[in-house]
Structures are given as C-alpha cells and as structure tokens.
Symmetry: C2
C-alpha cells in the first residue's frame, strides 16, 4: 500500500482515484483554487459534481489550503490539472513537492521562446530539476475509467525502473499500462490528438450539413482520420519521438476515443456544419479548448521550423488549414488535393 | 477519353464507373457468372440491384459471355471481383487480357504453399507475367463512391509512370488518389483492415452486452483500434511493406471506415454480444466473410514464420485471439494483459 496524492480534482484527475483505490492505496484528492465546490461536495457525500459519479470509498479530500498536508508523506503525486492549470501547478505545487515522482494526466505542448515545442514533463523538469516527471497518454475518458471500462494507456518517463514502480501502483484488471521511455513520442501523440480530433469532427458536421442527420458518410471521416495520423506522426518525428506511436494506442487509439464525445468534437462538428470559428466559439460559451491552443502552438512551431528548413509545410496541410480556421476565422474548406 | 472495362459488377466494381464516367471515359461493365441479374437489370434501367443506386448514364453492360468484346480495345481493365472471385478472374479473364494495365479493387492475401503471404497483384502476375497489375487500397465504400463523397485512396503498383497514367484516368474532385509503389504495404493494410475490423467491432458488441444500447463505452474500442494498428503495422513489416502506412489512409483510414457498417462489423458485434463464431455464422446465413478468411490465412502464416524465428507470436496476441474465436470456436475473451 502506498499514499497517492492527486492534485487537481477535475474529471480526469479525480478518475485516477478509481485504479488507485482499487489497489488499496491511500488516496488523497486535493483541489486547485477552481475545485473548491467539487472538493466541498465530494467531502460531504463522495459525489463528483462534474463527472456525476460517486468517487471510491475512502478517498480523502483536501481543499487547496491543505495542499501541504495532502502532499506530506506521499509516495506518488498525480498532477491532475488540464493544460490550463499548468502554470498554477508549476507555481503552487512544484515548490511543495516531496522527493517522489510525479505522474501527469495533462495533455498538450508548450512553445519554447525560439518557437520549438516543449512537453509538460520537460517543462516541469525545467522548473524543478531535482524531481522526476512522468505522464500518461492513450485513450482514456474519465467517465469510462470511473466506470472501470477496459482501458489501455501508456505511462511515459525517463527512468524505466521508476515507471515500472508507478505502473505497479496503478495497474488493475481494467487499467492496462504500457511503460515507455519515449516521452516525446507519447506526449506528442497525446497533444496532437486534440488538434486532429477537430479535423475528423469537421467531417461529421459536414456530413450532416450535406446529407442530414444519420447520413451514411464515412469516407471523408476516414480520409481525415488517416491524414490526421500521417501528420501526427510527422509532428512526433519533428519532436524527436517515435512516429510509429501514431499507429498505436497513444496516437490512433486516443484520436479514436476523442471524436466520440466532448467539446472538441462539438467544435469540429459546428465548424463542419458551416459556422466560422468566431460563431462556434460563441456557441461553446466562449470557452477556449485545449484543441484550439495546441493547433495554434504547433502551427506556429511548424512555421518556425519551416523557415529553418527543418519542416516542409506541405506535409501539414490539414493542420495548417485548422490553424486558418481557428486563427484567421477562415471558412472550412478541406484542401483535399493538398493532403499528402 | 479512354476505354475502361470493369470486370465484376458487384458493388465496388460497379462504383468505379462513377469516377470513370465523370471523367468522360467510355465505361464497359462486364459481369461475372454471378452477376447475371445485376447486368440484366442495369442494362434495362441503369439501376444496380444490390447497391441500390442508379449507375451513371452511358455505361455499357456486358454479360459474362460478352467478356471478349468488353475487353476488346480497352485502355484499362479494372478487376472488380472480391477475393472470392480471384480464381475465376485468373482462369477466365487473365487469358483474354489485352496488353493494358489492370487495376484491382480486390482486397486480401493468399497463402503461398510454404505458408508465406502473397498479394493479389503478385498472384495475378504469377499467372500472367506479361501484364501489369495494380491495386487500390484505402477507405472507400461503394455506396459513398457512388454518392461522390470526398474519398482518399491509394493506387499501388510497381511502375510509377503507369500508376500516374491510371491515376489521371480516374482522379476527380471527390476521388483523391495517392500513387504508391509500395504494393506490399498498401495491400497488406487493405487486407488486414478486414481482420482487425472484427476486433474493434467486438468491442462495440461487448459494450452493448455490458451496458445496453447507446452505452458510452469507447475506451475498449479505442484500445483495440490502437492495438489493431500496432499488429497491422507488424504484419506489413513482415510482408516487406512500409509499416508507416498503418498510420495513414490505407491502414487507419480503411479500418475506420470498415467498422461503421457491413457484415464484418456485424460479425464482430455478434461475437462481442457473446455468440460463438458457429452461432454468429448462422445469423449471417452461413456466408463466409473476407475477414474470416484473412484472419485464418495470416494466423497460419504467422505460425509458420514463428517456427522459423521470423515472427514473435506475442506481437500478434489480438489477431491470434481472433483466430481462436473463428477457427476453434473459442469464446471472446480479449487477452488485455497480453496485448503489447
């Protein structure tokens, strides 16, 4: 039995309490400043406000002021914040970290000042070089982890022995973990699937626009799914990761699960139906999605790399069209003939 | 304008008349012995009996007895038969071939006598070494090609200049063609997607069995989708093709489109719901599916290769489970812990 502290009580962070508790660990779920209500409600009745699931029995809840006690004596810290909470995590949590590994559910990439891309484990490491940062990739929705559906994920990190220890803490009969030292590959896929889920979802909206609901129209979705993985594998290669991960659990698997629900699907769907991004954003109540951020950052990075002759922009025609749609409010017009 | 003769008036062969006619070619659609009714009806009123679509104006129809006139003076032969028609095509059509290239829609692989795998273009070449055989891979359902949905496919063949000529004949504003000389890669993906579509569809049936219709259960599907591409890329590598095609249009794209409809999906669905293969086959009216044949052939080939230390069977745990389900009537029990 170990003590596992999850920092961030959003859906994905909180869902990690299921495999952790099923393995009989002490689980401490600590909220960010944005999680006050979630932690309050869960302390009172064990229910998670946004996930709408009962959390496992025995989880201990901590408000953000109690972060220090939540971290005290733990064996593993799970960083449960989304990419929008990364700065908070770096500022508020990293200084308090005990000498134990961190495992992050956060998906995304940052831009370095020179325009190149940076993974969150590498960013955290730059802020706290004396600690070890690992991350999770692969297709896993929080709802389904909470419902103990069969799930395959990747844990990535630089230290194989440590990865295996973390894997042992969290592997269950439904949560199947592959350990990988290819942080750039796994994190590249995890980030890019959000970008490309917009592309595939555009085809879903487009089908409905052209042929009505329940249209039988999968060729375009399939084409964009395949093209997405092609471009994803090229981004991963540029990052320095193994592009073969795109044809596997972290790439294809995660892209697959992402197009079946959630706000990224909704965004792509609305764009496919013919809305400009400015209009779709209004329907999504002005919320900026992770998918939008990653499209923007990667398109920027590609342009920088292209100027230095390290990337050929023609290899990323789909992604760059998404960037035009998002950042220049261009109408959707899939550049079929330019996809290669 | 060219003369294009399609031999085989099943749905996929017939659907090729759409891009061909849209490019103003003379199109001759010739039936196999099994297509007598289809050709008869289409000659009478232009409708396709099984595809339930009007074929394009101007297509000329030929019964099997008129094959010679159908082939006379043509510039391209499209082999439109399914894998079950390959022997007929080899025996009845290859001897009559004019000196023009062949483009096959047929998907599948054969076993060589030594247990290794053989693509259809290579098989045809062995039967008619003085002709050139090309093939189509990628996600394209016949219905959607007939409805002129945006579609991306690969044309593969050994002669790049010839491939480009064929591409020019058939490329349209909705039918987007990538030319590739990697016949083993494209054909390997095209064949394997039928096998792995069973695996992903099992997860669809399993979800319904466990949680009822409209269950939100995508983690297992996504895991099996990702694992399928992993194993597909390994099969392609063993064949001698480029495994990267699995993360693209011919692999991921084609697998994606295949799980949204058709009898292979139905088979996987029934297996996932708990039926043994013997029972599912009864529900499918005893029809042997291409997916079943390819699972059997590739599993056999892998066992031969493993005996010769050229393959590690642990890399194909999902495919070999499908083989147990199909050929030993084993119950579905996804070997989650063995997938790697």
């Amino acid at each position: 039995m170990a003590i596992i502290t999850i920092v961030g009580a959003g859906m994905m962070g909180s869902a990690m309490s299921f495999p952790a508790r099923d393995n009989h660990h002490e689980v401490r779920l600590a909220g960010t400043p944005l999680d006050r209500e979630i932690i309050g409600a869960a302390s009172a009745n064990g229910g998670h406000l946004t996930m709408k699931r009962q959390l496992p029995d025995g989880v201990r809840y901590y408000q953000v002021e109690e972060l220090k006690s939540a971290l005290n004596g733990c064996d593993l810290v799970i960083c449960g914040v989304s990419s929008f909470g990364v700065e908070w995590f770096a500022d508020a949590v990293l200084p308090l970290l005990p000498p134990v590994p961190v495992l992050a559910v956060t998906k995304g990439l940052l831009n370095n000042p020179d325009g190149s891309l940076l993974t969150y484990p590498h960013y955290f490491k730059s802020r706290r070089p004396d600690r070890s940062f690992n991350a999770i990739g692969g297709p896993c929705t929080s709802y389904e982890l909470a419902d103990r559906h069969q799930t395959m994920v990747y844990f990535c990190g630089e230290n194989p022995a440590e990865l295996l220890r973390i894997k042992e803490l969290l592997a269950t009969g439904y949560y199947h973990i592959t350990a990988s030292t290819d942080v750039l590959g796994v994190e590249g896929c995890a980030a890019m699937k959000n970008a490309f889920a917009v592309a595939v979802s555009i085809a879903i909206g487009l089908a409905e626009k052209l042929e009505g609901e329940n249209a039988y129209m999968y060729n375009p979705q399939a084409a964009l799914f395949g093209q997405s993985l092609r471009e994803m594998s090229r981004v991963v290669r540029l990052l320095g990761g193994d592009p073969a991960l795109a044809a596997g659990i972290p790439g294809a698997g995660d892209l697959f699960v992402t197009i079946f629900g959630g706000r990224t699907r909704k965004l792509g769907y609305l764009l496919g139906k013919g809305l400009r991004y400015s209009e779709a954003k209004e329907e999504l109540k002005g919320i900026t999605l992770e998918s939008v951020v990653i499209i923007t950052r990667v398109a920027n990075a590609l342009r920088v790399q292209a100027r230095e002759n390290r990337a050929d922009l023609r290899d990323f025609a789909l992604l760059l069209h998404l960037d035009d749609v998002i950042n220049r409010d261009a109408p959707v017009a899939i550049p079929w003939e330019e996809l290669r």
